[in-house]
C-alpha cells in the first residue's frame, strides 16, 4: 500500500472545500484506492443502491456513500454502519425531505445498538455526545456529508435551518446496554440482543437535566418530566418521538426499585398532561394550542380536559448512555412538527 503524497492531500483539501462538498472541516481526499478498500470491507457491490436521498433524491449507491465515508475519515469497517444509517434516513417515515429543508434545527442522530459497538469502539460511555472517538465522530459526519452531497441539503440554500446545531457536524452515540437494567432500545423495537442496529432520530441538540439529590423513582421522574415539558416550547402538545438518555447513575434509581421501562414511560406521559385552560395562546406567552384543537372546546378558558405533551407513552424513547459517575441525563427532542419524523431502525449488515 502506498501512502498518498501529503502535499497533494493538502491541495485536495483546499480544492474539495472550494467545491462546496465538505462540512467546513478538512476532509480526507477520496482517492480511488481509499474508496475501493472501504467498499471491499462492506462486502457489498459498488453499484448497489441503498436509497434515494431527499431533497434531491440523489442516488446513494454503496460507492457514493463510501466516497463520503472516506472524506469523513471513516475506517473501512465503519461503512456497514453508515450504509444502514443512510438506508434509515431514506425511509419515508423519517421525512428527510422535511428534516433537511426545514427552518427548524434537526439533525439525524445515529444510535447504535448491539455487539458492533464494541467491535468498532463506538462510544456509549463517558462523554457520549462529545468528541474523542473516531467511530462516533466519523460515522455521524459521513451521514451528514451524504445528506449534503447526495441529498443536496446545502446549508443556507436548500437547507433553511434558522439556527441548526452542532450535531449537524456529527451526531452518533451507542447505547450503554451493559449499564441498563432494561432491554435495549433495539430489543424493545423487535430486534434480538445479538443484532447490531442503527436507529435514526431527527433530533435537536441534547438538553442536560441535572438531578443530584433524588433517591426514588417518583422524585427523579418528576425532575425529568418538568424538563421534558419545555421541549419545543412549554405549551407544545401532541409531540412525537423524543429521546431520553438516562445516565447509569440515574437509571439505577427506577431500575433498583423494580420499575420497568414501560412504567417509566407511562408515568412521564401521564405527568406531562396539562388542562386546556393552561394552554391558551396569549396566556403565559403567545404560543399555545392551535386553532383546530381549541375549536373542540366551547369554553377553553375554563376547560380542564387534559392534553398530553406527547401523543402516546411510546413516543418517549428511553436508552442508557454516559459515564458511570454523574447524576445527569439528557433529553434529545425529536422533530415531529406536522407529524414529520419518527425514529427509524435498520439492521447493520456486516460481511
Amino acid at each position: 500500500m502506498s501512502l498518498a503524497d501529503p502535499g497533494l492531500d493538502a491541495d485536495a483539501i483546499e480544492e474539495l472545500y472550494a467545491r462546496g462538498v465538505t462540512d467546513g472541516l478538512p476532509v480526507v481526499p477520496p482517492t480511488r484506492g481509499r474508496v475501493e478498500r472501504t467498499i471491499a470491507a462492506s462486502g457489498r457491490g459498488p453499484d448497489e443502491l441503498i436509497g434515494l436521498v431527499p431533497p434531491n433524491y440523489g442516488r446513494a449507491t454503496v460507492e457514493k456513500i463510501a466516497v463520503n465515508a472516506v472524506m469523513a475519515g471513516c475506517r473501512p469497517e465503519y461503512l456497514p454502519v453508515v450504509l444502514a444509517a443512510v438506508e434509515a434516513v431514506c425511509d419515508d417515515a423519517f421525512d428527510l425531505h422535511g428534516v433537511s429543508a426545514t427552518t427548524n434545527a434537526p439533525a439525524p442522530l445515529v444510535i447504535v445498538n448491539g455487539p458492533l459497538r464494541g467491535e468498532l469502539d463506538i462510544n456509549c460511555g463517558a462523554g457520549v455526545f462529545g468528541s474523542g472517538w473516531r467511530a462516533n465522530a466519523t460515522i455521524g459526519r459521513a451521514l451528514r456529508l451524504v445528506c449534503v452531497n447526495v441529498g443536496g441539503a446545502r446549508p443556507g440554500e436548500v437547507s433553511m435551518s434558522t439556527l441548526a446545531h452542532p450535531g449537524r457536524y456529527t451526531y452518533c452515540i451507542g447505547e450503554r446496554e451493559e449499564a441498563s437494567p432494561w432491554e435495549s432500545l433495539a430489543v424493545e423495537h423487535g430486534f434480538a440482543p445479538g443484532d447490531s442496529t442503527v436507529a435514526v432520530l431527527a433530533a435537536d441538540a441534547p438538553l442536560g437535566v441535572y438531578d443530584q439529590r433524588s433517591r426514588t423513582p417518583e422524585d427523579l421522574l418528576a425532575t425529568l418530566a418538568a424538563s421534558l415539558a419545555v421541549v419545543a416550547h412549554h405549551k407544545m402538545t401532541h409531540w412525537g418521538d423524543t429521546l431520553l438518555v438516562l445516565s447509569p447513575e440515574h437509571v439505577r434509581i427506577p431500575g433498583d426499585a423494580g420499575w420497568t421501562k414501560a412504567e417509566v414511560r407511562r408515568w412521564l406521559w401521564e405527568r406531562l398532561q396539562r388542562p386546556v385552560r393552561e394552554l391558551l395562546p396569549g396566556r403565559d406567552g403567545g404560543e399555545g394550542l392551535p386553532e383546530h384543537v381549541l375549536r373542540k372546546f366551547p369554553d377553553p378558558a375554563r376547560d380542564d380536559s387534559p392534553i398530553a405533551k406527547f401523543r402516546s407513552p411510546d413516543n418517549i424513547k428511553i436508552l442508557v448512555a454516559g459515564g458511570t459517575a454523574g447524576r445527569f441525563s439528557a433529553i434529545v427532542p425529536g422533530w415531529t412538527f406536522s407529524k414529520g419524523s419518527a425514529l427509524v431502525f435498520r439492521p447493520i449488515r456486516t460481511p
Partner: protein, 72 residues
Amino acid sequence: MHDGVFFEDHGIPTATVVSTEFVRAARAQAEALGAHDYRTVVVPHPIQPLTRDEVRALADKAFDEIVRRLTA
C-alpha cells in the same frame, strides 16, 4: 418546489408563491432538478405572525404577477 417542477414537466403551467426568504431555496432546488427557467411569485416575509386580513392584502398585491406567471 418538487411539485412545481413536476407539474410543469406534465404540461401544467404553475405559479408557486413563496416568501422572499425562500426564493433562494426554491431557486436552488429547481436548479438542482435541472429546471433552470422555473420562476416563483414572491411575497414579503414573514407570513406566520400576520393576521388574516394582512395575508389577504398580500394576495391582492401578488395577483397580477400570478396571472402573468400562468399565461403567455
